[in-house]
Symmetry: C2
Subunit: 358 residues, 2 copies
DNA sequence: GTATATTACGCAATCGATTGCGAAATATTT
DNA sequence: AAATATTTCGCAATCGATTGCGTAATATAC
């Protein structure tokens, strides 16, 4: 008929005939308690299976020891890498990670933000949902000085914020340039929706490369896809390849789409890369599995997560220095493989770009 | 010079000249407050940007609204699917998911368990680390009646617990049988360590199939790999293929290993499936990317996560009925593809097993 | 018009740990 | 030995929301 409640510091205090304050201080390593008493207290705590109640502690200290992460889809390679990076960075600092998915929906993102607010996370890391155009749901964080770091998917320049990302414009520029160097002249681009900064920038980089090479910008070669799913990509490819002037290259916004397109092309007899070059984005491990191997650009998800976590910890540690907002831009890299090897670039002395098996 | 603290129900109470209890009851939909007052209170709460403090609420109610998940590696396809399933199931029930990774290390798992205990999660879902052989770190959960559900990686029969998993023995049996049916006679098995129940069962299923077909069990064809990494798999394959009697099939414990082995074989001129059949496990999307396409068995990660979440919610809702422990076993399925197509089984009338592109 | 039921709300304790302030006990200094 | 410094610990308020119990106010019944 014992009480069901957990053991508290009051129980320990009563048993040792000291005050709860002493227990608290002893267990948290305060130096104002004598060594013998500390030893005695720790011993009893172990014996009685005492479990500190972080909830009570957090309430009193007016902060929690967990940080929130709002991602789009946890089971997408790139995003799970980000989370993995965050976790690696913060978990050994006594921080827990609460993960919520928006499924790329604005509504879910708003709800996630509210839930994390209520649970008093001490910081937030966000990859914006594809749908999100309004950022008011982050206002309460700003107002209450809870640091927010945007990872990869950030608002545009109109919102001042901390962010960790890649240079999407440059990366897309390099990718497009590579296709042009391979002799492609009608380059299509399957991208995401332009209100999401990432894709706007990629389209800009793509445009810039074309312009610099004196190629015509052609609206019908650009798709702003809503979900960026493999199916959407294949549908677009179908349309593109039945055009009077079909493209001789497709620059995709992610690798899984690119791979689906390669498989589609193989099934209908379109030769890659001779007839059509395919460029991916992210450099998933699958790039080296598909045949022909997929050229792609490295999108360092894990590092983005790690840097986001580190930045957030800094902000927490320095207790909010609101003056300067930081933007951390990580390097990307083009990995040229068979899917764009229209010229035999190995022979032409560019082996540095080629990543071989093993 | 305003106070930095958040708005509380006391602030609202003072402003409306009512008691905090009234505010609390109004906001939580208690029917003992008049409609006009409720409306008035909700309106003011919105106006003052009131954010309920779940920490205080949880302390008072002696429970948190989040559940803990201990997984091995968040960025492994199968495990991120599990988490995704859990999240889908519980998040719309007002529950948050706290995710921690063990990296397949016992020590990390113990620390994770402790952290979740301190944060007073109301329930726990675990996929055991590869290293774990001792389960004492879950004792405090049992003792304090915090429901625990093991997902996929569970302790053996010696521990009574709730679990959601597949029938590893049957699945391995079916996989091995398939290889035998294809005419393979020297079948190797690259598995995980036998103290982890999953792998013990798979080895049993593998043995059973061989025995039933009158094939010899040969120790040198069985590997108990520590990390189950692709590299380990390739190393083992190297050894196996340089044996006087090399195997004519390899049954791998996961798809990424199987794929690395296929790539290795292609690079050294071993013909698949004519000379060597390769069988995977999990049915990752990559099975349909590698050439030849990889035969594999469906391991329904997402469903495992979903069922685990559902079971946990049941346990929470029914407030711990300790009598019967539940084991939910989900169906698996063999998807035969080219990597084991030694016989032309399509012609022999087994098209049901063949999953074609698109 | 009195008795009873119902509605609407307040009082104050409570959840468990933390911490500023103060004080007793002991050690150190002069 | 008296004065001062240091060590060690307790008191009691506090974090913010919840809730059992009590009660005044209003409604309904007889």
């Amino acid at each position: 008929m014992k009480k069901k409640t957990h053991v508290t510091i009051y129980d320990l205090a009563a048993e040792l005939k000291v005050s709860p304050s002493t227990i608290s201080r002893a267990l948290s390593g305060h130096n104002s308690i004598s060594k013998e008493k500390v030893k005695e207290i720790i011993q009893l705590a172990k014996k009685r299976n005492y479990i500190p109640n972080d909830i009570a502690s957090n309430l009193r200290k007016a902060k929690s020891n967990n940080i929130g992460v709002i991602t789009t889809w946890i089971n997408r390679t790139f995003h799970s890498e980000i989370i993995s990076g965050v976790e690696e960075e913060v978990s050994n600092k006594g921080m827990n990670v609460i993960i919520l998915q928006s499924h790329d929906r604005y509504k879910d993102e708003v709800e996630n933000a509210k839930a994390l607010l209520n649970s008093r996370v001490s910081g937030l890391i966000v990859s914006l949902a594809m749908e999100t155009k309004n950022y008011d749901h982050f206002e309460p964080f700003f107002r209450n000085q809870i640091p927010v770091v945007f990872a990869d998917r950030a608002p545009g320049p109109e919102i001042k914020c901390h962010q960790v990302l890649i240079d999407n414009e440059l990366t897309a520029y390099v990718a497009t340039k590579h296709l042009i160097d391979q002799g492609c002249r009608r380059i299509a681009h399957l991208s995401g929706q332009k209100h999401r900064e990432n894709y706007k920038e990629r389209i800009q980089g793509y445009n810039k490369a074309l312009r610099e090479s004196g190629l015509r910008l052609d609206k019908k070669y650009i798709y702003e896809l809503a979900t960026k799913s493999a199916e959407e990509g294949v549908m677009a490819t179908r349309e593109l390849m039945s055009l009077p002037e079909p493209p001789d290259a497709i620059f995709c916004t992610n690798d899984s789409m690119a791979i689906a397109i390669i498989q589609f092309c193989k099934s209908v007899g379109i030769k890659i890369p001779e007839q059509l070059c395919i460029m991916g984005f992210n450099n998933d491990p699958t790039c080296k599995i598909i045949e022909p191997n997929l050229t792609s650009t490295v999108n360092p998800g894990f590092e983005i997560g790690k840097e986001s976590g580190k930045l957030l910890l800094d902000l927490l540690h320095f207790n909010w220095k609101p003056k300067e907002y930081r933007t951390i831009t990580l390097d990307t890299q083009l990995i040229a493989r068979e899917s764009t090897a229209r010229l035999n670039f190995v022979k032409k002395g560019k082996p540095a770009l080629l990543e071989t098996f093993q």
